[in-house]
Symmetry: C2
Subunit: 483 residues, 2 copies
Amino acid sequence: MTTIEELESILAESASAAPVWRHSTALERAAWLRAAADALDANAAELVAIADEETHLGQARLTGEVGRTSGQLRLFATVVEEGSYLELTIDDADAAATPPRPELRRLLVPLGPVAVFSASNFPFAFSVVGGDTASAWAAGNPVVVKAHSGHPRLSERTAEIVRAALHAAGAPEGSLGLVEGREAGNALVRHPSIQAAGFTGSLSGGRTLFDLASSRPDPIPFYGELGSVNPVVITEAAARARGGDLAAGLVGSFTLGAGQFCTKPGVVFVPAEAGFEDAVADAVTSAAGGRLLTDRITAAFPEGIAHLQADDSVSIVALGADGEGARPVVLTTDAAAVAARPEVLLEECFGPVTLLVRYSGEDELRAALRAVPGSLTATLHSEASDDVSEILDLLQQHAGRVLFAGWPTGVAVTWSQQHGGPWPATTSVHTSVGATAIRRFLRPIAFQDAPQHLLPLPLRDDSITSLPHRRNGELRLPERTAR
Amino acid sequence: MTTIEELESILAESASAAPVWRHSTALERAAWLRAAADALDANAAELVAIADEETHLGQARLTGEVGRTSGQLRLFATVVEEGSYLELTIDDADAAATPPRPELRRLLVPLGPVAVFSASNFPFAFSVVGGDTASAWAAGNPVVVKAHSGHPRLSERTAEIVRAALHAAGAPEGSLGLVEGREAGNALVRHPSIQAAGFTGSLSGGRTLFDLASSRPDPIPFYGELGSVNPVVITEAAARARGGDLAAGLVGSFTLGAGQFCTKPGVVFVPAEAGFEDAVADAVTSAAGGRLLTDRITAAFPEGIAHLQADDSVSIVALGADGEGARPVVLTTDAAAVAARPEVLLEECFGPVTLLVRYSGEDELRAALRAVPGSLTATLHSEASDDVSEILDLLQQHAGRVLFAGWPTGVAVTWSQQHGGPWPATTSVHTSVGATAIRRFLRPIAFQDAPQHLLPLPLRDDSITSLPHRRNGELRLPERTAR
């Protein structure tokens, strides 16, 4: 565990690194991000072996996750080079206006040292150099990571490898700090040096840290992804047309990674009459669960199921294959019970379990959907003949990503991804995955009547035209430069 | 005072209006914003007369403020029509990727009913239909305003006039609610219907509301502008070259509106040796103060000055003209005292007072600047011969707008304005003035593999090309349509 003295020393290094990151050019930061990505890829075999020992997630999944993580670092290098994230804006002076208008030039600048809290379920993509770290770096901030207790050796080794790569690429010492232990994590989010925090984890842990961040003498933004039941709606027409395929798809999605994805479909609204439960029961019989990530999650899984089963409306539809670790479970209830007791029936339960909610008619479905807490995703399976406009409007109000004819597990890291949603899915109106995650770690500054040589580089006349920018209200693309 | 029953009824109307606003087109919202602006202008004489009775700010200033406020509403109509604020983004499907990538389309959508807390010092521009309301409407949200107790009749009359205009333009009932009283305000920010809040006011009042918003079972974003001392730095070379002009400019700025601007220069770092205090003493003698906005502010002004004078380092430089209301005051202290006791010497004091801080050499100046709390603005007066790079870097870390050779009072409402800064200037990494203030009241949604007819209008193939958007990472301007 990191002591308070060690934490102070790590944060002092981070504070020393902050001005170097703040003044770094786009080319420098892009090179640092790519150096980190290359180091991950070059050391993937060693890292995956450690990760598999600590998480039981398996080589194939973990190897894919390394690629996703290095790809994410490279995407942010591209984002930095492209330059739109700076939101460069000029309004020219206007002496004829009443009152006369000064020249104003605006851009986004980094906040300063960022705390990142790792998740257990993605030991690469949401951990030491995962999306929060990549986007905080891209914005120009050093990062101090709170390692997850589920993979401590992997966290340390990843940090060592990436630090060496950053050092070789010219980034300052203090670019990537690492602390361990709950006490250190709590102290981190309260520390005056830390200017923002990113978090992926449980509702209770995230709420505690959110409250610590918000109750500081100087509150800081806390970008937390806390929990999500990811509702799925299947219309009667869809269940009748392709119930078997939907059942197989659902089972594949809710058991993926032993049901430990934050986008796991946890509650599925199914027509009462269409025989969909039988189709799911058939599909789940041969489905495997697996060892869960940590002792705490392993203990919580049967407790969560027992908690649901304690409700009179809930019964078991079927179990999956009996193997090592957690066995998949499909439960069922009805829409009236969900509408009446959402706090009991719609709590996120980590692991390979999903709850089918039988509805009779759209009124009952709508009433139950209104009770669904904010989620990362909402999925609709319907047929062209269905009028889904009202259902879709409801789903949009409860989620950050709306999917059609697919399954929510699997989050593409792209420019238009949105990984976030109304509370408790996230604590903010921003995404934690995809290019725009960078906005979380930036703040705007405007310069009024500044001499050219005192402006930040991107705002000067000789560089702004080579970047996307807005001038007097008009959006302008970069002028192509001769190569 | 609004009772809790009345509040519930107002919020029920607002909740009914929310889907109409959410589904409104850009053209509709732009028309509603312009209707509100036109109604303000058409009724300016009546409104200014009420405002002058309630605030003593004078006809000229108030008339100008109406124009600024209607102009602000029209700017947001333009922002809505221009469309960049939607952040439209498409990533086309890629079946060849590993794993195969779905189609993703992303845009920003409104949050739902927004609470706006009016300020006393701008009874139009930061009140019932001021910047927070205009930007929340532009984003597509109904608004419930907590009226400021300093101008209750003006608030009611403004709301009446604007509601009639919105109704005539086709906007729904419940687009603009108004509540009065502290209890109603506190209940407002805790109410489940309210999805975000905007606030301009005092540090203590803002902190209370921020804590209420953050401690909700479902925390909401609270965008508060709480307090700012707006540091000014004058280099020795500038003081020697144009001390008289700078003194006159400073006096004009800190006494503007009787010193009740949130951008008032409250602390001015001046070279100890250059005789600048004498120049200010000369300039202030004939400067008028004026009646302050409310009884509370009137009582707090001498208390704030007494609080500063209780510090041994502080003495009076000069007083302004003795007239009706508050008399301008210039105080002085030294940089070592400021660095040692910033919590005493750098507290915002509303009214016509400023504190000159004598420094000897840049080391002393830098140490004192590090103690300055986050501010809306920071101003530098230097000569071309000065090396100001380190000072400027410090000022940028403490402010959201950095001015050169000007004065911070006066905030142009433009695309590149930034009105916000590190805590306690604001509680967020966004501006409350200017085009990008709209981002505060929006959240992203991504649509995965959606059929065209189920996408929101701007994301469909037949409209996205007529709006700024990004496709597969490439920023694209709207295609010109034939007219």
